[in-house]
Subunit: 228 residues, 2 copies
DNA sequence: CAAAGTTCTTAGAAAGGCCTTAAAAGTAGC
DNA sequence: GCTACTTTTAAGGCCTTTCTAAGAACTTTG
């Protein structure tokens, strides 16, 4: 349901950089190292876009592109080429790539081209955002903002808030929370959950966020997006 | 993508903008000008989502929302409010809106929220509301409201009122109540139940709620949604 | 009308649940 | 291995809720 971007890149450093950058923008990213892997992955994954390095071990990018084009004619393909590699660039376009980007490039430019391709392709990858009232959680980037203001949350805090927001305006039992957020099936007997609720409330308040976490006595908690 | 979005907006310019934007994204859009039209349209249309301006001629958005909620409890409702209209925002959420968006907004944000609501509406089970007369109990959120006004009930009070409302207009025996609400199979010999009935009556009265709990002498109690 | 039986109300004791804080234990990065 | 950050434990205090008890008020019946 959420269509990711499939990244084909054999250099781990480069791949990690791209992946992180894209995820911070809210995209889901799947990363494979070779053309063969990419083709196998495509059998089951339905990516919104393919980002393809030309220089790959084994089957090279142009060949991957050609095979992709045959089976998935609608899938947008963005090729990453070396600056002066005119020959491969031409081969790539001829093989059906939709756009190319010469390395080295500014990340912003990559983004712009990706967005352009996606707009054109009409096949939008769904950003994985959790919106409710003034709060926005980006589940890919794992960032939270209240209106414009960023919230800095620890991993646990983030997971907890995400879970509450996913069940917005419903009372969630402590046990349910322990199970889903901590993965336990029991109450610790300590006030662990209460402590985290307390942390979240403080941070929400410090950010001036007009939403709150209501206590549902005897049951658990409930996320409410506005003051009542 | 068969089910359209029903847009309720009395300003033609705004409506045209929204409609065009949404249609470019591939949504079907039905547009009506007033709340009355919207309710009529809902009888035959089965929209996936309702986008509702608060400020409407005739019946205002909040009222529309309440009526929609009663007949179509599962239909996601997104409200458009003025930036500083906190009061209507709160009223709207209380009337059952699922999200709100303060004007002016970026179109992108509207899109994101629509997508979020549609995703959620697929996942979340239906909201379980007990409506009878002016009282509304939300069994998921465990909140109670009398008309606009929130009632703050303790867990026992909530359970008791819920049980009475589930058997509205019928006499319920003390024993039945003890069994279902307290889980005992016997009368304490104390006036425990009477005490709680007394608490409830006071809170209903303080909220100006035109409904009451009748005593059925020798048997138990009966919930009546309005004076008769 | 008086007595008996119910129901209502109030107040206070006891218990329980929740919040907060501080400090210890655990993790990750330099 | 040291430092900074995150997670967890522990403990005290506060506030809410629940329950009991006892007398007032009301209804029914003789």
């Amino acid at each position: 349901m959420a269509n990711p971007i499939l990244l084909v890149e054999d250099e781990p450093v480069m791949a990690a950089l791209l992946r992180q950058g894209l995820e911070e923008e809210g995209y889901l990213v799947e990363w494979v190292l070779t053309g063969e892997e990419a083709l196998a992955r495509l059998e089951h994954l339905e990516p919104a876009l393919l980002v393809l390095d030309v220089r790959l071990p084994g089957m090279d990018g142009v060949e991957v592109c050609r095979q992709v084009r045959q089976r998935w004619p609608d899938l947008p393909v963005l090729m990453l080429t070396a600056l002066d590699d005119v020959e491969n660039r031409v081969r790539g376009l001829r093989a059906g790539a939709d756009d190319y980007l010469p390395k080295p490039f500014a990340f912003e430019e990559l983004l712009a081209r990706i967005e352009a391709l996606l707009r054109r392709s009409k096949r939008q990858p769904t950003r994985h955002l959790l919106l409710d009232g003034p709060l926005t959680l980006d589940l890919n980037a794992r960032t939270a903002t209240c209106g414009e203001r960023p919230l800095s949350l620890t991993p646990r805090e983030f997971d907890l808030l995400a879970y509450l927001m996913q069940h917005s305006r419903r009372a969630i039992s402590r046990l349910q929370i322990y199970r889903e957020v901590w993965g336990h099936d029991f109450d610790h007997g300590t006030s662990l959950l209460e402590v985290y609720i307390s942390y979240l409330r403080r941070k929400l308040q410090e950010a001036g966020c007009p939403c709150y976490i209501a206590t549902v006595r005897g049951v658990g908690y409930r996320y409410e997006p506005a003051e009542g």
